[in-house]
């Protein structure tokens, strides 16, 4: 219970991360760098600052309190942050009168986390929901994740882990008995493409999926549909081949249509590498679902 981890968000009454009504805990830090990542604030394992431009009054309080001199303030202008100097202490966020700076990522003990999660116990009970650990990559903080899952199981809370699949097998093996459901992402099937768009090879990921399926733990595969990348015919063929291998041993596949999150990147002072893309059409989604459903159940 004293184990600590870094989380960047806890979302209550979450409806799309597993069965029933859930609380989703977002663990900070991820070994992948997916071009389309929806949670850029989850990438770095360290706390970092987000800036909400529209809230800033230009008062200069942040620049005055920063112990590292990372913040500069021109007269009447918005502050500039030298992120390489920022130590993530959060003084600026604490002092900012209007809440324009927000420190994402805080250290939390398993005990504190559980006291938050248990607030919605009645909701989990009523809806057959529970807690989902997401990220970032939750397996990137294996000890904390393990302790948190164990604490949930002790309290009879249903657990789900939303993973990129990119973690040493022994971590999966450790948490598998405590995890009631794996939400397992599959990105580009081609190894080169995977490397190009996520920064890592997908071999380990595919191997982990096969072994989890063998282990007989409940797994639901999730495929983010990125136009031109994962919704192509070629990718679909390769996906169907892998799904064929685990057919009958996974619960099914869920397609996650792409949506634009450029604004979040700006707040973090990062640039969004994705070109502006439109959401896949309902017709295309239905077609893909139908074809996958010939191999495994698909929603």
């Amino acid at each position: 219970m004293r184990e600590t981890g870094i989380v960047f968000d806890i979302q209550r009454f979450s409806l799309h991360d597993g069965p029933g009504i859930r609380t989703t805990v977002f663990l900070k830090g991820c070994p992948l760098r997916c071009l389309w990542c929806h949670n850029p604030e989850g990438l770095s394992p360290k706390p970092e600052l987000m800036f909400f431009d529209y809230k800033c009054l230009g008062c200069g309080t942040c620049a005055r309190v920063c112990p590292e001199g990372a913040l500069a303030q021109g007269a009447g202008a918005k502050p500039r942050l030298a992120r390489e100097k920022c130590a993530g202490c959060g003084r600026c966020a604490e002092a900012c009168p209007s809440g324009a700076w927000r420190l994402v990522g805080r250290t939390i003990t398993v005990e504190e986390l559980l006291s938050l999660l248990e607030r919605d116990a009645l909701l989990y009970d009523r809806s057959q929901g529970g807690v989902t650990f997401s990220g970032g990559e939750p397996l990137f903080q294996p000890d904390f994740l393990h302790a948190a899952l164990a604490a949930c199981k002790e309290r009879r809370i249903h657990t789900a882990v939303d993973t990129s699949g990119y973690a040493p097998w022994d971590v999966f093996e450790r948490i598998a008995p405590l995890t009631d459901l794996f939400l397992f992402d599959l990105k580009p099937m081609d190894e080169e493409a995977h490397r190009r768009y996520t920064g890592v090879s997908n071999r380990l990921i595919h191997a982990n999926l096969r072994r989890l399926a063998e282990l007989g733990r409940p797994v639901r595969v999730r495929v983010p549909l990125i136009p031109g990348i994962t919704d192509t015919e070629e990718n679909l063929q390769a996906l169907l081949a892998l799904l064929g291998e685990v057919q009958g041993r996974i619960l099914g596949v869920e397609l996650l249509p792409y949506h634009d999150v450029a604004e979040k990147y700006q707040r973090l002072g990062k640039s969004y590498g994705m070109p502006s893309l439109s959401r896949p059409s309902e017709a295309r989604l239905a077609e893909l679902r139908a074809r996958i459903a010939q191999v495994v159940p698909c929603a």
């Binding site: 209550r12 009454f13 409806l15």
Partner: protein
């Protein structure tokens, strides 16, 4: 969801109605609201005639009522299936000069104001100038009341510490119970005869009882006359009707009016007509708050519906058409026009008649029946301002019913609100009602629990909590006027701990509530003696048996309520002071007071930002703030309940937490508050978090609200705004249903949803002509958005919009 998609979704939700109903609805919706002088003219004529002179007041009132019903117009909307209407036609609103006399200026304001006008014709103005005003000025109940109320009451009232419900409208605040559907007036006259025979001259109240029973008997006769006049008129209309189908209908309606309200109804149609006659009677007798209501209508009507279906007299479709016709009767009776402060307090045509659906039956089983679903369907298709509804959810209510109600909520016109019925039962039991009376209770007005048909629960006014804090922070002085209207509770700059501030606030609160309670006692006595309601008394148990008027304590249960406003604002203000002044010492009390005095202008804007953004807030499941909210609720309840029962009605004293629209008025009279709220802007409404501050999602709001002990109150109003895509599919609806169940399990009393985006509301402000039909939830009722005064529009837009669940 994009704006066009949202507009389209709303458009699709409008379903076609049968031709007759569509026409009646169109007429009803489009009818201009007008002041109708007929009632004022007749009642003045009656009192001037000398017929009443020297008679005891109950007999005067009963004879005046009879005089009215013998003479009022008998409008029949073309194609209507139910007759009886207050006024000379749809949306012609009578006035009640014996209660409150409109001045010529009032009439002019009503006629010309931009939002929600009441048109006044030249003849009405002339009549007022020559007859009504000269006769009633100085004699109306409102005049008597202000003559009697002490100066300290007037000072607080003028400062906006409270409003007074009964200065312009009579008490009432009740709904019908099963008595209405089981008794005809002849049955009641027999009861009166029995009671008269049982009167004992040795009883010190012998004479009062005798007079009251005689008055009740005359009032019963009055409605019999009204119905007989309608029967005759309908028969005449039938003779002249060219269309044979309509002729048969008119003949049948005449037949129905010959049976009810004299005798108990036998059929579904008779039951509707019977109730409606009584509704018209109650609302002609006085202008009671919350008009009147058939209460648990699905349960009352179900036996008639079932029998008619079984015996082949009725089809589901015909029952629906009758209900639709019935629906429009309510819509044709807008609220009475008010004057002065209460125009802000309740700025609406809505008269708050609330039809209750679901809940439990008297024996504790699930109360949902086929009619509950049918009435939801009618609600969904009619989309009119009135009547209001309430869906009562108990642990025994099937999910199917809750989901159906949420389906009606989803396209977003604000109805129906949802209530925790198990909580209503607990509230009633705590107040000493029997189990059966608790289970047949319901909610009227906005969110007010009451034992339907058996309780006189009178609302006495709204209390402005943030204003009391403001006065506390100025040691008893109202900074707006510089007048000392409170007591001296110490210079806040001398407070060393939060506890000292809290105690000063509680002392100030005790002072004001004490003054208000004394005023309530005076007003109760005035109504009991000057404005008995023998007709309403016929229908509320046990007035006839007790030979005592409804306004004098004749009902089985008597309760008096104070309505508390501004919980969110007060909580956040206290939390901000506790956190920044007494704990973190970010600011001194002096600095905060200076910032408040400057309304956070200039350099104090930064102070405001810190207070607003860097303080614990109610509505985000933060125990720091929520425990303050809980303490406020506990203390207010304890304080109000510590007063002894009222002198005349022996009513216990209770509280509701609801605002109608008074939070806008209360905001106007309250300076800047330590939660960062600017002077003059609305205070929080109901028990909802401060507008725009509940950023942790709806689950956190529910938990915060449920930490307070609402079972000790009579009800608490919670508004939530959701974006339309959150209710777009079955799975989301189901999860919302589960969330609501959990909220109710935790002790929440009520929740209502605005399923509308801020973007759409802004668009409606820009192009009001294209959004005439856009209805939104205000507080305990819905209203046309474009008709709302700007301040209220802005307040609704400012409410936090839950875009995603988390």
């Amino acid at each position: 969801m994009a704006l066009e998609a949202e507009v389209e979704r709303r458009r699709r939700a409008v379903r076609p109605l049968p031709a007759r109903i569509a026409r009646l609805r169109e007429e009803s919706v489009r009818a201009e609201v007008r002041v109708c002088a007929e009632r004022a003219r007749l009642i003045t004529e009656f009192y001037k005639s000398g017929q009443a002179t020297g008679l005891p007041v109950p007999l005067q009132r009963a004879l005046a009522f009879k005089y009215l019903l013998e003479r009022v117009s008998l409008p029949v909307e073309e194609g209507q299936l139910i007759v009886g209407l207050r006024g000379t036609g749809p949306k012609r609103v009578p006035t009640y000069p014996e209660i409150c006399v409109h001045s010529l200026e009032d009439l002019e304001v009503l006629h010309t104001r931009e939002k929600m006008p009441y048109r006044v014709d030249a003849e009405t103005k002339r009549l007022y100038a020559e007859e009504i005003i000269p006769f009633w000025r100085g004699k109306s109940l409102r005049d008597l009341l202000f003559q009697r109320l002490p100066q300290e009451w007037i000072d607080a009232y003028e400062a906006g510490v409270w409003t007074e419900f009964m200065e312009q409208r009579a008490p009432g605040h009740t709904a019908g119970g099963e008595r209405i559907f089981k008794m005809g007036l002849l049955d009641i006259k027999a009861e009166i005869a029995t009671a008269l025979r049982g009167l004992d001259p040795a009883d010190p109240e012998y004479y009062e009882k005798l007079v009251e029973l005689q008055a009740m008997d005359i009032a019963a006769d009055a409605l019999l006359i009204y119905a007989a006049r309608y029967a005759q008129k309908l028969a005449e209309m039938a003779k002249e009707e060219g269309d044979p189908a309509r002729r048969r209908e008119l003949e049948e309606m005449a037949e129905i009016c010959r049976w009810v309200p004299a005798r108990a109804p036998r059929t579904f149609w008779e039951a509707l007509q019977h109730y409606w006659f009584i509704h018209v009677g109650v609302t002609y007798e006085t202008n009671p708050w919350d008009s009147f209501s058939p209460g648990r209508i699905d349960q009352h009507l179900y036996p008639f519906y079932k029998r008619d279906l079984e015996e082949g007299r009725l089809t589901r479709e015909r029952a629906k058409e009758l209900l639709q016709a019935f629906w429009l009767k309510f819509n044709n009776q807008p609220a009475v026009p008010k004057v002065g402060v209460t125009a802000e307090e309740s700025f609406t045509y809505n008269d708050f008649s609330k039809l209750n659906l679901g809940g439990l039956t008297a024996d504790g089983s699930d109360g949902v029946n086929e009619l509950s679903y049918l009435i939801l369907e009618v609600l969904e298709e009619m989309r009119t301002l009135q009547p209001n509804t309430a869906v009562l959810i108990s642990n025994k209510t099937p999910d199917r019913f809750l989901l159906r109600a949420l389906e009606v909520v989803a396209p977003g016109f604000g109805e129906p609100p949802l209530f925790n019925f198990d909580g209503v039962v607990v509230k009633m039991l705590r107040q000493g009602k029997t189990l059966e009376d608790a289970r047949t209770a319901g909610v009227s007005g906005c969110v007010e629990s009451g034992a339907f048909g058996k309780e006189c629960y009178i609302l006495t006014g709204y209390l402005n909590l943030p204003k009391i804090l403001e006065i506390t922070l100025h040691n008893g002085v109202d900074p707006r006027t510089g007048k000392r209207i409170g007591i001296e509770t110490g210079d806040p700059q001398g407070f060393r701990t939060y506890e000292e501030l809290w105690q000063a606030f509680l002392q100030q609160l005790r002072h004001f509530v004490t003054v208000k309670m004394r005023g309530n006692d005076i007003i109760e006595a005035l109504y009991a003696h000057h404005l008995p309601v023998p007709f309403l008394s016929l229908w509320i148990e046990d007035c006839v048996r007790n030979a005592r008027d409804y306004n004098a304590g004749g009902a089985r249960y008597n309760t008096q309520y104070l309505q508390i406003v501004g919980l969110g604002t007060l909580t956040n203000a206290l939390a901000a002071l506790k956190f920044h002044v007494f704990e973190r010492r970010t600011f001194t009390m002096e600095e905060v007071l200076r910032a408040l005095a400057a309304d956070f202008s200039g350099p104090y804007e930064l102070t405001r930002q810190v207070l607003l953004h860097k303080s614990p807030r109610y509505g985000e499941d933060d125990d720091y703030a929520d425990s303050i909210a809980k303490a406020i609720v506990d203390e207010v309840v304890r304080l109000v309940e510590s007063f002894p029962p009222t002198p005349v009605r022996r009513a216990s004293r209770r509280v509701y937490f609801l605002p109608t629209t008074v939070h806008v008025y209360f905001g106007k009279v309250t300076g800047a508050t330590p939660d960062g709220r600017k002077a003059g802007t609305p205070v929080s409404e109901g028990v909802s978090p401060v507008q725009g501050t509940d950023r942790k999602g709806i689950a956190a709001v529910f938990r915060s609200v449920a930490k307070c002990d609402w079972d000790k109150t009579g009800g608490a109003l919670l508004n939530q705004k959701l974006t339309p895509d959150l209710l777009a599919d079955e799975e989301s609806l189901r999860k919302l249903a589960q969330l609501i169940r959990v909220f109710f399990n935790l002790g929440g009393h009520h929740v209502q949803f605005n399923v509308v985006s801020a973007e759409l509301l802004r668009e409606a402000q820009r192009r009001p002509q294209d959004f005439q039909d856009l209805m939104v939830r205000v507080a305990g009722y819905s209203d046309y958005f474009v008709n709302l005064p700007r301040g209220l529009q802005e307040e609704i837009i400012a409410r936090t919009e839950h875009k995603h669940w988390g």
